[in-house]
């Protein structure tokens, strides 16, 4: 297995050592939403491993099930969501034996959450309590999960803020007195308050301006390197992940379609959907490319199509695609057995066919 950063950027991210166990292993995981009109298969037999010190990016469109997968793995979903299959194994440095998250007792689950696995939720604008100041909210978290005195908790709240780049003097500020970026930093500080081993970040920078976004991502990477936690980073922005993540999992219609290192996803994307995503971003640097996008929209998960869910939007689709068993198999041409794809037909480098019938490919101005 290789990492996303070869000789590229010092300090190099420690590679997932072969003997190491994943800190979080999700296997054969399925979630449905029970509705009066029948089940919606939100997550369908997903396998995903997160190794210590890694950043795994989970990319997908809205409704692809990426948040459901992450919350489901922490048992944070409520009815009508129902976990129908799979197991989630957590093994931290502090824990003696691996824990089966889906089977542990409620008390253990409480200890696991935040202490071991913390979540930075989407939209920090709404995640903070508007009537409590920042210090009190941080102290709340610290008291709930760690045994420390009042004074220690307050001191820790101050150092947490400083750690995420907010001056200690803002401890008494209320959320409305902080900018969006600062609120997001407070959320990150709260997640890191208990020194968790895994931090799940659900679109933490989506509502922010690019300059602030880059600033916060840089900080997340610095913190990760100094504190040594692992990150599951959920986003719809693949271009962001290519820079940030070690490995990237591409999710579509509740299933993983491809999983590989950032480099593999960028340079040898195997699945047609991954290729479509890569072609959906106008690039700021380099020569102007022909942008294609992906015509059509994702399938209705009330009534998922048989075989590959990407068939209606796929330029490569053939009759055989409706019969395939959606299993992730190593990419035939890849040296890395961990680079897996759900498409057994298309190999990296296969020239793109013309788009699906009736849809003109996108063009841009000036050409």
């Amino acid at each position: 297995m290789s990492t996303g950063h070869g000789a590229a950027g010092p300090p190099a991210v420690p590679p997932p050592r072969g003997a190491d166990e994943p800190v979080l292993a999700i296997s054969d995981f399925s979630v449905v939403y029970r509705t009066p009109d029948g089940d919606v298969q939100a997550v369908n037999r997903v396998n995903l491993e997160l190794y210590p010190g890694q950043v795994v990016g989970l990319v997908g469109e809205s409704g692809s099930g990426k948040s459901t997968l992450a919350y489901g793995a922490c048992r944070l979903l409520r009815a009508p969501a129902l976990i129908t299959n799979g197991n989630v194994r957590y093994r931290g440095r502090r824990s003696v034996a691996p824990m089966e998250i889906l089977h542990v007792h409620a008390d253990d689950l409480r200890r696991l959450r935040w202490r071991e696995i913390a979540i930075v939720f989407q939209s920090a604008m709404n995640a903070l309590n508007p009537v409590l100041n920042v210090r009190d909210q941080l102290v709340d978290v610290i008291h709930a999960h760690l045994r420390v005195s009042r004074q220690e908790a307050r001191d820790k709240a101050g150092s947490l803020l400083e750690m995420v780049g907010i001056p200690r003097s803002r401890l008494r500020s209320y959320p409305h007195e902080l900018s969006g970026g600062m609120r997001q930093r407070v959320m990150i500080a709260m997640a890191l308050a208990t020194e968790p081993e895994v931090v799940i970040m659900d679109e933490p920078t989506t509502a922010l301006d690019v300059v602030v976004q880059r600033d916060i991502l840089t900080q997340i990477v610095e913190l990760k390197e100094s504190l040594g936690f692992s990150i599951l980073f959920i986003t719809h922005d693949l271009s962001l992940l290519l820079e940030l993540a070690d490995r990237i999992a591409v999710m579509y219609a509740g299933q993983l379609l491809e999983f590989g290192t950032a480099r593999e996803i960028q340079h040898e994307p195997a699945h047609p959907y991954t290729r479509g995503l890569l072609n959906s971003f106008p690039s700021l640097r380099g020569a102007r490319r022909d942008l294609a996008g992906i015509p059509g929209s994702p399938p209705d998960l009330h009534d998922p199509p048989s075989g590959c869910p990407f068939i209606p939007r796929c330029g490569y689709a053939t009759q055989a695609c409706a019969d395939i068993d959606m299993r992730l198999l190593p990419v035939a041409s890849s040296l890395d057995p961990a680079h897996v794809t759900a498409c057994p037909f298309v190999l990296p480098g296969t020239p793109a066919p013309p788009g699906p019938a009736g849809r003109p490919a996108a063009t841009s101005t000036g050409s």
């Binding site: 950063h5 950027g9 690019v210 602030v212 294609a292």
Partner: protein, 357 residues
Amino acid sequence: MSSNGIPGPPPDGDVASVAAERGPLAMEAVSLGKDFRLGRGAILHAVRDVSFNLYRGAATALVGESGSGKSTVARLLAGQERLTSGSVRLDGQPVDVSRSRAFRQYKSKVQLVFQDPFSSLNPVHTVSYHLERPVKLRQDKHSRQEVSQETAALLEQVRLTPPGQFLPKFPHELSGGQRQRVSFARALAARPEVLLADEPVSMLDVSIRLEMLSLLDDLRRRFRLALLYITHDIASARYFADEVLVMYAGQIVERGPAEEVTQHPAHPYTQLLVASAPDPDNLGSGLHAGSGAERRAENTGPAATGCPFSTRCPLADDRCRRDNPALQRVSATRAAACWRLDAAAPDILAEPQGGGL
């Protein structure tokens, strides 16, 4: 104009627009200004001395971060907000908000598309209702057959086909992309000359955005719309605009041809914006290298006096903190508002004047 050798550009922000090559002048924004009273005597200068032209068939991008005043500019142009200073001219005629008849005509020629397709359509009305109203009001078509022909044609233009399938639907039955197409169709129903698109794709999924931008591009060409594309995504401006205007704290700090501004930004703010955009071609390096102190963006708001960017600018000196620079000419088609262009963009200034890149 001197061809070479004179250091520093002439102090003249009035440069030619590349968008003018596409078609005749449609709309002029002349020194737009908008102040908001915040209470207790405080005033927010949301838009300050913003001037630009929109040309038929050309796309102009207005790029800036949230709070930079770009949406306020759109609302000023659409007549939804009263100007504090400056004026708007359409086809050479000044816009008079007080004369309701003339203003109604103006509003049908200048259409606005909003960011959020989930709240910009009325949830209790069908697609056909949304389209029939502007067709009846703006196009003066009244017979039932004419109206239904026109609404069907509109849906085909935004590629919602077959139209019969979409006309009876309610907004909640449509996906985000389909809703935004209806918004486009509704704007087109008024047969506009100018289309003001305020972040038209930022609420949509990544895989759909490009298709929507291409559609917008296609409509611009086909109907020779003067398009103002407002966005925070400077990369999309590179692909879908002729000219780019970069806004910071209510002012235009840089303007020029899209390719030149995005590839060789002159103003330090534009440079920061370009450097901050995710760069997949630069795997891992940017994030691990550590960032400069000037990136601590949210801790420092725009400066009250002098150049608004001086609080974040690594090149700021005393003059920057004292006097607010006006747009000055960088080349025949480019201008930037910066005192330190000699240090910020020496290679751009060194080029012969008048040629562009």
